[in-house]
Symmetry: C3
Subunit: 159 residues, 3 copies
Amino acid sequence: MEEKKLSIILFSGEYDKAMAALILANSAREMNITVHIFFAFWGLSLIRDPDKMSLEDKNTFEKMFSLMAPKGPEDLPLSKMNFGGLGKVMLKEMMEEHHAPDLTAFLKGAQKKGVNFYACKLSVEVMGYKLEEFLPDVKELTANEYLADALEADIQLFI
Amino acid sequence: MEEKKLSIILFSGEYDKAMAALILANSAREMNITVHIFFAFWGLSLIRDPDKMSLEDKNTFEKMFSLMAPKGPEDLPLSKMNFGGLGKVMLKEMMEEHHAPDLTAFLKGAQKKGVNFYACKLSVEVMGYKLEEFLPDVKELTANEYLADALEADIQLFI
Amino acid sequence: MEEKKLSIILFSGEYDKAMAALILANSAREMNITVHIFFAFWGLSLIRDPDKMSLEDKNTFEKMFSLMAPKGPEDLPLSKMNFGGLGKVMLKEMMEEHHAPDLTAFLKGAQKKGVNFYACKLSVEVMGYKLEEFLPDVKELTANEYLADALEADIQLFI
């Protein structure tokens, strides 16, 4: 059978939307569908390695941005009903109750299952991130490269 | 002519985004396009039947969640300019002025026109909803089933 | 080679999301991909011409709405970390630092490169806008016309 492909742009930097993207990605891998996630803008927060944040060689705005933007999966807010973090605590409790893994587990699972992680080159530059601040195995991709890839995909989603 | 198919994930629980999804769905049905809407996370609020909310057999978090999350279409906030509900009143007045139906009418229209409603199984479980709290004719679907279906669609949107 | 097509619904009225849509659109044009952007709901704010706003022949709600909704690209807020406009100033500084053009430049670039701009007819009517308040070369399209067009596209995104 011809190989199928799922292409996701993860633009949003929110816990629940990242969860949706990763659940789709991991489910697709179980079905042997190739998955490419293109992290852009706020979506880059998800693949920041909390232990590798660096302020070196960054200008003032980039330093401020690095400090203010969420640092990795568990630092993301909810898109709705966040209530200063209370809503997220609730959601996480409800997920645990139902033995659903948390976002970090979904993220690690995705990398283990072979989901391909790409960082939008322009967003990385504008936000002043460095590739070494991200999780391992994240490659940079231009918008042109994303498009060339997405044209070959069977499902394209913007999340 | 080969049958066309539109596949929508409705993740957002907002009045205006639900409106966009339903307008597309209803327009597609007028063109004989098969439409599947997969309600996930906050999107499930739209298909809650306001008269069927139940707190039985729910744990504390699930009860809190049931009480705090919007109960059906008219209870959803706007994604922007909500101003504590004032923006929504304005939008609804403006729609009425132009004889555009409200969200409830679009929702009923969708079911009459044969739009297929699916609830994301994992979201239903995590949020502690029960199928009988939703509108009639809503079926549960796993992420795998959604993907298998979306692969066959001509248009896939994440709203 | 067969011509490829990218179809975007721009529903959101936020600076960063509009940026994402226009970067994709402009990149696609560089690759000779046909691009159609269908501006709906809040997305219409992006194509308002700040110099052509009119309150004539509008009822009270439409006037209020015209005054409150963002007037053109530079008036759009960020979807996240807006901090009353401070976050946007920061992002714009960071973009300038990296010689990335601003949203207005991306918008003009898109029209020059032949990206097709369509305004959702129903949204225009409900929000009380008039076609002459928009940028030149914006055509109105119904949801049915959008769908017929999107069915022929290789990539469809809802932003």
